[in-house]
C-alpha cells in the first residue's frame, strides 16, 4: 500500500514537471522579442524606433521601424550578441578613448559582436556587417524594415529568446551637414568615416510578456452574487426558525 502511494506520488510529480519541461524546450527554439530603440548615449541622434524579432527555431523574422535618422544615407543595422557582453546598450562610461562619442568598438563590452546583419537583400551573416550598399538608406529619415526567414545558429536563437541580444542601427551625422564625412576614420573600416558606422540607435531585444494578466478580483462575478444570495437565504431561513420558536413561546405564554 505504502509502495503504491509512493509510486503514485512519483508519477504525479513527474506529470507535474512535464509541462514545465515542455515549456523549457519550446522556449529555447521559439519566442517573440521586442526592442524599443533609443538614442545611443553621447552620440546625440534625435531618433527613435522599435524592432520586433520573432524566433522560430533557427529562423528569425525581423521588423523594425525608426525615424529621425540621417536621410538618404545607408544605415547599417545589426543584431549584436556576445557571451561575455553585458547584454545592454552602451553608456557614456564606455567612451574608452574619451572623444565624447561612442564608436561601434566602444559599444562592444555592452552589446558584443554582430551576429546578424539586417541587410535588405542577400547575405545576413556578420560578413555583411558593412555591406553599405545593401542597408536601408532611411528615406525621409525613416527606416521601415521587414525581413523574414533569416537563418541563425542555435546559440544566437537562444540568446535572442533569452533577451541577451541587442539591435543597433548605425550612422550619425555629428556635424549636421547631411552626409557621412569628417577626418575621423571608422574603427571598423578605415575607408569609411566614423560617422558612417558609429551607433545611432540601440535597444535590447527583450522577451515579450508571457501569458495574460490578472486583472480582476471577482467583485462583480456571478459566483460572488450566488454566494451572497446563499448566505442571505441561509440567514433568512434561520430567522424563520428562531421566529417560529419565539412565536411558540409567546403563544405558550398566552
Amino acid at each position: 500500500m505504502r509502495t503504491t502511494s509512493k509510486m503514485a506520488g512519483i508519477a504525479l510529480g513527474t506529470a507535474a514537471l512535464v509541462p514545465f519541461m515542455g515549456a523549457g524546450i519550446a522556449q529555447a527554439a521559439d519566442g517573440g522579442t521586442m526592442a524599443t530603440l533609443r538614442p545611443v548615449a553621447l552620440n546625440g541622434v534625435q531618433a527613435n524606433g522599435t524592432a520586433m524579432v520573432t524566433v522560430h527555431g533557427n529562423r528569425v523574422d525581423v521588423t523594425m521601424a525608426a525615424s529621425g535618422l540621417l536621410p538618404d544615407n545607408p544605415h547599417a543595422a545589426h543584431i549584436h550578441f556576445g557571451a561575455e557582453a553585458r547584454h545592454e546598450c552602451p553608456r557614456a562610461g564606455d567612451d574608452a578613448n574619451g572623444d565624447n562619442h561612442l564608436n561601434t568598438t566602444e559599444g562592444g563590452p555592452a552589446y558584443g559582436d554582430i551576429v546578424v546583419s539586417l541587410t535588405k537583400t542577400g547575405d545576413t551573416s556578420p560578413k555583411s556587417g558593412l555591406a553599405v550598399d545593401r542597408f536601408d538608406t532611411a528615406p525621409g529619415g525613416k527606416i521601415n524594415y521587414e525581413r523574414g526567414s533569416i537563418n541563425v545558429s542555435d546559440a544566437v536563437a537562444q540568446a535572442i529568446v533569452d533577451g541577451k541580444s541587442v539591435v543597433v542601427v548605425h550612422g550619425v551625422d555629428y556635424n549636421k551637414n547631411g552626409k557621412y564625412d569628417g577626418s575621423t576614420k571608422s574603427d571598423l573600416d578605415p575607408k569609411l568615416p566614423t560617422e558612417a558606422t558609429d551607433p545611432a540607435l540601440c535597444g535590447v531585444l527583450a522577451a515579450a510578456p508571457a501569458g495574460g494578466m490578472d486583472t480582476g478580483a471577482g467583485g462583480t462575478s456571478g459566483s460572488q452574487d450566488d454566494q451572497l444570495m446563499l448566505l442571505g437565504g441561509g440567514l433568512l431561513l434561520a430567522a424563520v426558525g428562531t421566529g417560529t420558536v419565539a412565536a411558540r413561546k409567546v403563544r405558550n405564554r398566552g
Binding site: A65, E146, G212, M213, G232
Partner: protein, 232 residues
Amino acid sequence: MLPIRRSGDHRGHLVMVVTVLLALAGCALVLRAFTTPGEPPQPNAAETSAPAHASETAPDPSTTTHLKPTAAKGGSSFGPILQPSPPVALAIPSIGVRTRGIVDLHLDPHGKLEAPTNFDRAGWYADGPTPGEFGPAVIGAHVDSKSGPAVFYRLGSLQKGAAVDVTRKDGSTARFVIDRVARYSKKDFPTAAVYGDTKGRAELRLITCGGAFDRASGHYVDNIVAFAHLTG
C-alpha cells in the same frame, strides 16, 4: 415561579432579537446580491472560438506569406507612426471609459505582465513601445475589484470600429480604432498574437479579465483583449 417566568421572558426577547437580526442581515445580503452590478460584458462568442493555441505554437501563416524570405520590403507598407511618448490618459467614449494617471507596468519574475495595484487606474507596459509607436503598446486595467466594477468593466462590450484616444505626455493624442475584441483562456493565451509583431502598424492592446471567476485562485480564468491600430 416568578424567576423562571422572568428568565423565560428574557429567553423569548433574546430569540426575537436574534430573529430580527438574522432577518435584517439576510435581507441585506440578498439585496446586495441583487443590486451589485451584474457580470461584466463578454465579447461575442464567435470571436473567442478562434484557435488561440494554434496561433501561438504554429508559425503564423500570414507571416510566411507576408514576408518574402529573400528580400526586405519597402517602406510603403508601414502605417502612421508617432514619436515615443508615454500615455497619461485614456478615453474610450463608447464604453464610458475616461481615466487619468496611467501607471507604469513591468514584467514580474515569471515574465508575466503585472496588473495595476490600484483598481481605479489603468497601467501600460512601460518596457514596450509607447502608444503610437510601431509595435503593440499594451494598456491593462482591472475588470472589477472585490467590491464592484473597475476601469475596464465594460471592455468586453467594445465594438469593432470604436475610437480609443490615448493622451500622451508630450500633449499629443494618439487615436486608435478597434479591430476586434476577443476572449482567451489564460491557460492558452496567444502571446504571439497579442504581444508579437504588428506588421508595420502602431497598434494598441487593451487587456482585462473575463470568463469565470476561480474562487480558489482568486483570479478570472480568461482574458479579454481588444486589438486596435493607430489611425490618421
